[in-house]
């Protein structure tokens, strides 16, 4: 009984993705056919080539990847250092500052959006991708929180022993904590990738030149100009945008599920 319900629901949940792939492989006259048909006839792989060339897909993909990778490097570096300072060193004022860092998560982005735009405008960064990755090098409250919780679970005897051996805090961080925290760092990197790959509002505000667009922005640009007609190409491009995320999910399924469960339970 439960199996039957689950199978029926699975079909409903899978349907949109399968329909996207099916549409992406159809010739345009079959796309607009009623009643709709499942199997593309003929199967047009060429739709993908057309979409990739027409939309400048690879240009946008390169721009998006650059923002993702720089952002991941920044987030990992800054958040792990800051989390170490909050979790593994005892100093006056630490807990008050940590609570301050948590409370910044309560502020919705629209509140800081406009002054931030002003700051980046003064720096002449509008139109470049810098507003989208430089801030990552200064930590983000959510990831700091996540890593701090993880660092707290690492036995303190380990750092004590290293300290007695004369290791500096930076050495302990680098040689003891970071190697042990690899799973948590993976979660942070993965979440940041998903966030940056998906981000729409940020690029919409800061990117002004078409050659710097991310995939989200580029696809929206294309859709707003050719929407309502070129569904086969739009579906092909959408499939290509979803694909990296799906591939990541299949290789790191456990990291995803554990990361989300972790944030839900400790939050």
């Amino acid at each position: 009984m439960i199996h039957a319900i689950l199978i029926a629901l699975s079909c409903v949940f899978l349907f949109p993705l399968l329909w996207m792939i099916s549409t992406s492989l159809k010739p345009i006259d079959q796309v607009m056919k009623l009643p709709p048909e499942w199997i593309p006839r003929p199967i047009l792989i060429r739709n993908y080539l057309d979409a990739v060339n027409y939309i400048p897909f690879f240009q946008y993909a390169k721009n998006t990847l650059a923002i993702c990778i720089l952002g991941i490097i920044g987030t990992l570096l800054s958040c792990s250092l800051v989390a170490y300072g909050f979790a593994r060193i005892r100093w006056p004022g630490r807990d008050a500052l940590f609570i301050l860092s948590l409370s910044t998560m309560m502020i919705p982005f629209p509140v800081t959006m406009i002054p931030l735009y002003g700051v980046f405008r003064t720096l002449h960064w509008i139109g470049t991708n810098r507003p989208l990755w430089v801030p990552a090098f200064f930590g983000s409250a959510f990831n700091i929180f996540l890593l701090r919780q993880f660092f707290l679970t690492i036995p303190f005897d380990l750092s004590e022993a290293a300290r007695i051996d004369g290791c500096s805090e930076l050495r302990i961080f680098k040689d003891v904590i970071v190697p042990l925290a690899r799973p948590a760092l993976m979660v942070v990197a993965l979440f940041h990738f998903i966030y940056a790959w998906n981000d729409f509002l940020g690029p919409l505000i800061y990117l002004t030149k078409q050659e710097t667009f991310t995939l989200s922005l580029g696809l929206q640009f294309y859709q707003s100009q050719h929407g309502g007609t070129q569904w086969h190409m739009l579906m092909a491009a959408s499939t290509l945008v979803v694909l990296p995320v799906l591939i990541l999910f299949f290789f790191a399924q456990k990291t995803f599920i554990q990361g989300i469960a972790l944030t839900g339970l400790k939050g």
Binding site: F13, P115, F138, T239
Partner: protein, 293 residues
């Protein structure tokens, strides 16, 4: 302060210094500036000019503002409870001892990973009034399909339905909560002859209430800021039926360059989210049960 303590303080501050700089540059300064701009006429091109509370006063007589607020209220009123109930129901289904749970969980989780741009374009196609597969399916079972995104009465319900496709993320959190419920509670309930709905009502729901509360708060923060999906799908139309709060805020800031007005809207949004969160917290205080306490 001893030598060691001073050393620890210095090291601690050094480690958190990236965040301290970020806190001032990307949080504290923008928060204060935004508060100041909300009391000014400001277009980013010219310096801000103080006008006191005028922006806030204008909001109350701005019809479009009320339209955007009521659109957002409608979306929240339907999407939040629907996603909550369906999410819990799905998690309960997945928590039964079925074979292939990992497989099912993956199927329900994957749609929540689909990037918003792809989500918007895909559903734009599926909700297409003439060739869309949703209306075809409705027609097949004898129901007349509405014109969805081009009909002011049906555009918001279409977006609410879409939000259901992304509940997988919440389901994973519910599932983690469900797996922490001690088995012996169910065993003693079984001994007392409790039925399945008694067990859900008196054991399962109280035990996972912290997780429900967590998802509810995240949900409130999320729905009050819906932007990308309606922006791509409808641009706020038809007849402003899907112009949501953050979209009108964005328009004021970057289309009309009324940045002071937009800042006032942002602060009202913050107060709204804060108010809703406090209400949710007050209500849940009576119902949320923390096993550890």
């Amino acid at each position: 302060m001893s030598r060691q303590q001073r050393c620890d303080l210095r090291n601690g501050l050094l480690f958190v210094s990236p965040w301290l700089i970020g806190l001032v540059a990307w949080e504290l300064y923008p928060i204060l500036a935004s508060l100041y701009y909300s009391l000014c006429e400001y277009s980013v091109l010219t310096p801000a000019a103080w006008i006191g509370l005028d922006n806030y006063r204008d909001l109350f007589t701005d019809e479009v503002f009320w339209k955007a607020l009521s659109n957002t209220g409608f979306y929240a009123a339907f999407a939040l409870p629907l996603d909550l109930i369906c999410g819990i129901a799905l998690a309960l289904l997945l928590n039964t001892k079925v074979r292939g749970m990992v497989f099912y969980r993956a199927i329900f989780f994957v749609p929540s990973l689909v990037p918003m741009i792809a989500l918007a374009i895909l559903w734009l196609w599926m909700f297409n009034a003439q060739y869309g597969v949703v209306n075809y399916a409705l027609g097949a079972i004898g129901l007349p399909g509405p014109r969805w995104l081009v009909d002011p009465a049906w555009a918001k319900p279409a977006l609410v339905l879409m939000s259901l496709w992304g509940i997988g993320r919440a389901v994973v959190v519910y599932l983690a909560g469900l797996q922490d419920v001690p088995v012996h509670l169910y065993e003693s309930a079984d001994l007392d002859g409790a039925s399945w709905h008694h067990k859900i009502r008196h054991i399962t729901l109280p035990m996972i209430s912290p997780v429900i509360y967590f998802n509810l708060i995240l949900g409130i923060i999320g729905v009050m800021q819906v932007f990308a999906v309606p922006y791509v799908m409808t641009g706020g139309g038809p007849a402003r039926a899907t112009l949501f709060y953050t979209m009108y805020l964005y328009d004021n800031a970057f289309t009309y360059l009324r940045m002071g007005y937009a800042c006032a809207m942002a602060w009202m949004l913050f107060l709204l989210i804060l108010g809703l969160t406090l209400i949710a917290t007050k209500v849940s205080e009576r119902h949320v049960y923390y096993a550890g306490k």
